[in-house]
Symmetry: C2
Subunit: 208 residues, 2 copies
DNA sequence: ACTATAGTTGACCGGTCGGTATATGTCAAT
DNA sequence: ATTGACATATACCGACCGGTCAACTATAGT
């Protein structure tokens, strides 16, 4: 039997929209249903719980992220500009949302990481896995730069971690200031992060 | 007439504890009162609203932060090691909390920045101001390093911004992984961030 | 001892929370 | 035409939400 209802999809879309803009705790099942045009009793036909909906919405959104980042980390874009391009891509994303709604909503995964990491182990693990996947894209890029001699032999895992942490921090500030331009301003700093690890406990003079 | 009750202080302490560990939306006035040993009706004798309590708690916590960071940014610690020392200090803070409770709680201001920036303008402004103050400590450090020739002439405002953004990103990951060691690992990357801005649109080779 | 005020209390408000139970409507394959 | 899965709807649960209020008690300063 074919699916004949898109209520599930509408609920996931509503969850993505509302939880992204507000927060998980602040968005009730009721408002989710209202936005999706679904009666509350019907909600639990499609999802075991509010948490279950979030898990499935997270899956959807992580695929969106993958799709958005695919051209950025594609083989035909030079490795040396991928990370900066990623920052720019995220900048455009945040900016277009601000143009629509007046608000910078930040990174859904970052938002949920801080809201739910200490409260919901299942969500924590999913968000962690998504971040891990992003880090692997960055790490692959770094490895390629080492292969081509554009980067020295550094700890690619730690450096990729640092780049993604910086990205999340930058997005946090963009949300706090409600100013997407900040992402663009700080994007160029990102590449310097990759150079830190092989310098160990060097003083500033040694680097300069 | 002198103050004869510490209920206000107990409520603020409870708010700091509970909101830090859970989130603003998830912690109700009721649970706040239970922890502080105060009846709910009494809560509104001391605070206009739950939001009002958070504002005042934020004030308290920002003073704690200032006190915690004062020795780090003191004149008798060399400017070249202040930023790294700040990371270490925050590492110890997060680690001691994890030893007590089993959880990395992250940065209260970062948590609230992501949870409430789009929802509560008053809180947003307060958190922004606190972040700004931290950035100024970092910026003063950078200026001193330039004065002593340990750093080239860079855009200190943007670099300080980048350092604090990185810090917040690192803390976010520590919370997501529930692993404070991450802060220590990534601390050494911080200094390289300050070197990025005067490199403009340089390629990786130019830096290496 | 009195009194003004600081502090406390419990009952109550309308509304929402996540979740459940159950009856019914819809449609395709047999 | 009947079956059975898909799908929707209504009504309800106890608990909790942030917030209000009038009545009360405890105490410090006189």
């Amino acid at each position: 039997m074919p699916r004949t209802s898109d209520a599930r999809e509408r609920l996931i879309a509503s969850a993505l929209e509302l939880i992204y803009q507000r927060s998980y705790a602040e968005v009730g099942v009721q408002s989710l249903c209202e936005r999706a045009g679904v009666k509350k009793g019907n909600f639990y036909y499609y999802f075991d719980s509010k948490q279950d909906l979030l898990v499935q919405a997270l899956e959807m959104r992580s695929q969106e992220l993958r799709r958005m980042l695919a051209p950025v980390f594609d083989k035909d874009v030079p490795a040396s500009s991928r990370i900066e391009t990623m920052f720019k891509q995220i900048y455009f994303d945040q900016k277009s949302y601000k143009n629509k709604t007046g608000q910078v909503r930040g990174c859904l995964f970052g938002n949920l990481a801080l809201e739910l990491s200490t409260r919901d182990e299942r969500i924590r693990k999913r968000v962690d896995a998504i971040m891990q996947a992003l880090m692997e894209l960055v790490e692959e890029t770094l490895k390629e730069l080492i292969r081509t001699g554009e980067l020295p032999e550094i700890d690619t895992t730690a450096s990729a971690q640092a780049v993604v942490a910086f990205l999340e921090g930058v997005i946090l500030f963009a949300k706090l200031r409600n100013d997407p331009e900040l992402i663009l301003t700080l994007a160029k700093v990102a590449k310097s992060i990759t150079l830190a690890h092989h310098e160990q406990s060097q003083s500033f003079e040694d680097i300069v």
